[in-house]
């Protein structure tokens, strides 16, 4: 299955990419996605995750075609 992974703000700069496209053959969680695409990097503190534009925990399952996003605490308003 194919998953789009997106990064925003300071995390995007830190990783040096705005997005990744990853393929899996088995069921995975948000946490698995991070491990797969950023093997050399520990998850920075306070990073939030979203699947299909809704906030989720890192144990949330990810399905084929989902968009997963990682980003730092929001600072709008």
């Amino acid at each position: 299955m194919s998953i789009k992974v997106r990064y925003f703000a300071s995390l995007k700069e830190r990783i040096g990419r705005a997005e990744d496209q990853v393929e899996f053959t088995m069921n995975v969680t948000v946490s698995d996605i991070w491990q797969q695409v950023n093997q050399d990097k520990a998850l920075p503190e306070n990073i939030l995750a979203a699947v299909n534009m809704e906030y989720v925990g890192f144990d949330h399952p990810v399905n084929d075609g989902d968009e997963v996003a990682f980003f730092p605490p929001v600072t709008g308003g």
Binding site: A50, P73, V74, T75, G76, G77
Partner: protein, 151 residues
């Protein structure tokens, strides 16, 4: 409910007037309008700031703002809501956010506009990068609790 993400400067008072003009059905029903406008300051955490870039997550930002407003409209008696938020490059004195709530009574209007602002600050995916007077840039790490500390 109207949610707008805009990449050009906007005038919050004109946005309100235009909204009211097109929402004639509210006439006579509204007793209380509570408005919050956030504008860019030329200082933050002791430093002079000359500009700012506001990044967002297109799609998720709108979705989260609609979630926030829907939850507020379930909790308080609200007639209508307008939220406008700026993205892109901004400068001191530019409006960043407008939250306007129309209600029949003042308590519902005050509580719901404040609740929308607090939720927006913690859940709507926007990120600020400040450009200091020195030209150094820095990401704002987290939003403040909203009060100026007295010295």
């Amino acid at each position: 409910m109207i949610v707008k993400i805009v990449s050009e400067s906007f005038d919050p008072w004109q946005e309100i007037q235009a909204f009211q003009h097109s929402a004639q059905a509210m006439r006579g029903k509204v007793g209380a309008t509570s408005v919050f406008v956030g504008t860019m300051r030329d200082f933050n955490e002791g430093d002079a700031i000359k500009g700012m870039t506001l990044e967002h997550y297109p799609g998720m930002t709108e979705k989260q703002l609609c979630n926030i407003i829907t939850a507020v409209m379930e909790k308080w008696q609200v007639i209508d809501v307008l939220v406008v938020h700026r993205v892109g490059d901004i400068f001191p004195d530019d409006p960043i956010v407008l939250v306007a709530v129309w209600s029949s009574h003042r308590g519902d209007a005050f509580d719901s506009s404040r609740s929308i602002m607090e939720a927006l600050k913690s859940k709507a995916p926007f990120w600020k990068k400040e450009i200091l007077a020195s030209d150094d840039q820095r990401w704002v790490e987290k939003n403040s609790d909203g009060y100026l500390k007295k010295d």
